[in-house]
């Protein structure tokens, strides 16, 4: 018994140590992300731009562009990874994620309705105040609709791969609808939408960043409340029900939480792939646990860190060009996903 408890304490200490290391890593990456970019700025000038009101060009670049972009990257990473973790548990499917199951597509359909459908002359950049909220709510509704559909499908179809294929079909169907909408829209609407689909972390106005921050914060708080439910859902709905969980309520909470997290990100940054599916697996490998009391904070930290790394890479430090961040996240995420598929023995059957 004595030995058992000491093993427990050691495990707890290890987990805390990793959390601390990840936190430190995020701080370092945040600083790096601000210091590095297409325009070479000396470190001393970055510091003076942040702390002194020098009103130089550099200050504009740092405070108006790099800093918000770094914060956006952090928030996007947290939100996508967290929604991926929740979806993997609630669907008991290691391949679940907002991008692969078409949740992001659903969100973009919501955005398309706002940009292409109703207002003829607003571009996302010109949206402010209420407009931002309209955009984000439309995105939630779109994400939620697809999520609901996937939930209905996965309650009938138990096979992981079938659900996955249906998710891909759903995404394709939604892009087809959006294409049709594009065909019938005018030039300004089209331009606004195309710019939006390119997806970027750097195009957010401060108003949009605020909306994103508030939404993701709400999602994070909700997800902390869901950790006990997620643990029970790991062993299936029947067992969770027999443990006293109100399964319908739990599903609703997680459904809302995921729609908010994935929807908000998609509303302002476009569809960003493979972070949501890959990060939870990386976290499981590091912590070797299925306990969401550890996985949720772990995913928040790791998601933020990996998205910051993606952003740093996408700026191609030292060069003048910038890569689309979506390409970078795919290149980081896809190997993880492939590795999970190939290591299927441990993930066989259900999740």
């Amino acid at each position: 018994m004595q030995k058992e408890l000491s093993v427990d304490l050691k495990a707890v200490r290890n987990v805390r140590l990793i959390f601390l290391a990840l936190l430190l890593l995020i701080v370092i990456l945040l600083i790096l992300d601000i210091f590095l970019g297409s325009v070479n700025i000396k470190a001393s000038e970055v510091i003076s731009a942040i702390f002194n009101n020098s009103n130089s060009n550099y200050e504009t670049i740092i405070l108006k562009f790099r800093l918000p972009k770094a914060i956006t990257a952090l928030v996007v990473g947290v939100a996508l990874s967290l929604s991926g973790l929740q979806m993997q548990t609630v669907f008991r499917n290691p391949m679940a994620g907002p991008y692969v199951l078409g949740i992001s597509s659903g969100a973009s359909l919501g955005v398309a309705f706002v940009i292409l459908g109703f207002s003829s002359n607003i571009a996302p950049e010109s949206l402010n105040g209420l407009g931002n909220w309209i955009l984000v709510v439309a995105s939630w509704v779109g994400a939620g609709a697809v999520m609901l559909l996937i939930m209905v499908i996965s309650s009938r179809v138990k096979d992981i791969m079938t659900v996955l294929i249906l998710g891909i079909m759903l995404s394709s169907g939604i892009s087809a609808i959006v294409t049709i909408m594009q065909y019938f829209s005018n030039e300004t609407m089209l331009k606004a939408y195309v710019i939006w689909t390119m997806g970027s972390l750097g195009n957010l106005t401060s108003g949009q960043l605020n909306v994103l921050l508030i939404s993701v914060l709400a999602g994070v708080i909700l997800s902390l409340f869901s950790s006990k439910m997620l643990n029970a859902l790991l062993i299936g709905e029947n067992y969770a029900g027999s443990l006293g969980l109100n399964v319908r309520f739990a599903r609703a909470v997680i459904f809302i939480c995921t729609s908010i997290l994935a929807g908000s990100v998609t509303a302002f940054c476009g569809p960003i792939g493979f972070i949501g599916i890959a990060v939870p697996h990386i976290v499981r490998i590091i912590f070797k646990t299925s306990d969401h009391k550890i996985l949720i904070p772990g995913t928040i930290l790791m998601g933020g860190a990996i998205m910051l790394v993606s952003d740093i890479i996408s700026q191609l430090p030292g060069s003048e060009s910038v890569l689309p961040v979506n390409a970078v996240t795919s290149l980081i995420g896809i190997p993880v996903v492939i590795w999970v598929i190939l290591r299927k023995r441990n993930y066989s059957g259900s999740f």
Partner: protein, 339 residues
């Protein structure tokens, strides 16, 4: 020995089944039965009769279509999900596959109804978890992942999980279904132990009739037209198990709880000998389709004794000796074939 024998569960004209569209699909006639604390109850019935549905309904995972279920005298409809989770635990036939879940974490899930909103494991929870792990003798697997265990070990972990849930009643749907013989008896032994020493009421479904008859305190026998409950021996005497089998092919022997196949009698044979060798030779001869006669017959067998270690078969004009029952039966089959 048990001090507090009391009725902990009772079913009153319970109707179970599914809603298919607007229609009620009632599986069995109204069921009336009861369970006392510390009883090991086997639910027996043919496939598809509604054993799983009954167990799911008892656990509250499925609504009854009619009738009542009472836990400690209180109607199941008056319990909240959480309150019910303090009364009854459940193991389904579903094999749980979760990666990266340690045995400890799986058992800790049993504390779900007892922990706070975030699921924090307090000292008392930890003690209950370790106690459950020890009672199922899984302590050395504590840090192992559930996915690395054998079928039998995993089932023990599932049992530890409901032990940690600390319910008076445990409902298990075919807990021994996919286990090998050794694990099967180990699990049954564990159930027996828990119902006895920990005073748990365990209701489990099984297809293993002989195991159920020899180990359980009570049997709920589900037949197409009724539920018969009672001690296995009561049911044996009443000949209740005969209803389970197609009597044209299987004979259930209510004297000793064994069953045999009905086959045409190929003749009678006299056995000369005694003790266990006689018992097993008789069984083998029965299996080959012969009956044993008490009087001398034209075909007879002299069993091994101190002076002779071989079986001696005398039939018609030949006399042969065999080293084993297997050889004896093979020859017997041939002899009869040839006539």
């Amino acid at each position: 020995m048990r001090k507090d024998i009391k009725e902990i569960l009772s079913l009153d004209s319970l109707k179970i089944g599914y809603f298919s569209g607007k229609n009620e699909n009632v599986l069995l006639p109204p069921l009336t039965a009861s369970a006392d604390s510390g009883e090991l109850i086997a639910v027996i019935g043919k496939n598809g009769i509604g054993k799983s549905t009954l167990l799911r309904t008892l656990t509250g995972l499925q609504q009854p279509l009619g009738g009542e279920i009472f836990y400690s005298g209180k109607n199941i409809r008056d319990y909240s999900r959480m309150e019910l989770a303090h009364k009854v635990g459940y193991i389904s036939t579903e094999i749980v596959r979760v990666s990266n879940m340690s045995v400890y974490d799986m058992v800790a899930l049993g504390r779900f109804p007892h922990t706070n909103w975030i699921g924090k494991i307090e000292k008392t929870d930890h003690e209950k978890i370790m106690d459950a792990i020890e009672k199922t003798s899984m302590k050395r697997f504590c840090r192992k992942f559930v996915s690395e265990l054998s079928d039998g070990e995993r089932q023990k972990v599932m049992i530890a999980r409901i032990l940690a849930q600390d319910t008076g009643i445990m409902v298990m749907d075919e807990p021994t279904a996919f286990l090998d013989i050794a694990a099967r008896y180990e699990i049954l032994h564990l159930l027996h132990l828990l119902s006895g020493s920990s005073n748990k009421t365990i209701i489990f479904s099984t297809h293993d009739l002989q195991m159920a008859i020899s180990q359980s305190d009570k049997i709920w026998l589900l037949l197409d037209d009724r539920l018969i409950e009672g001690a296995p021996e009561d049911l044996m005497i009443a000949g209740a198990f005969d209803h389970l089998f197609d009597s044209s092919t299987v004979i259930f022997n209510s004297d000793n709880g064994t069953f045999s196949f009905r086959s045409e009698n190929r003749g009678t044979i006299y056995l000369d000998g005694k003790n266990s060798k006689r018992y097993w030779t008789e069984k083998a001869i029965n299996r080959a389709g012969f009956s044993v006669s008490n009087e001398m017959t034209s075909t007879y067998i002299i069993l091994p004794s101190e002076s002779n270690s071989k079986w001696q078969l005398s039939a018609k004009s030949i006399v042969r000796e065999f080293k084993s029952i297997h050889e004896l039966i093979t020859c017997l089959d041939k002899e009869v074939m040839s006539t």
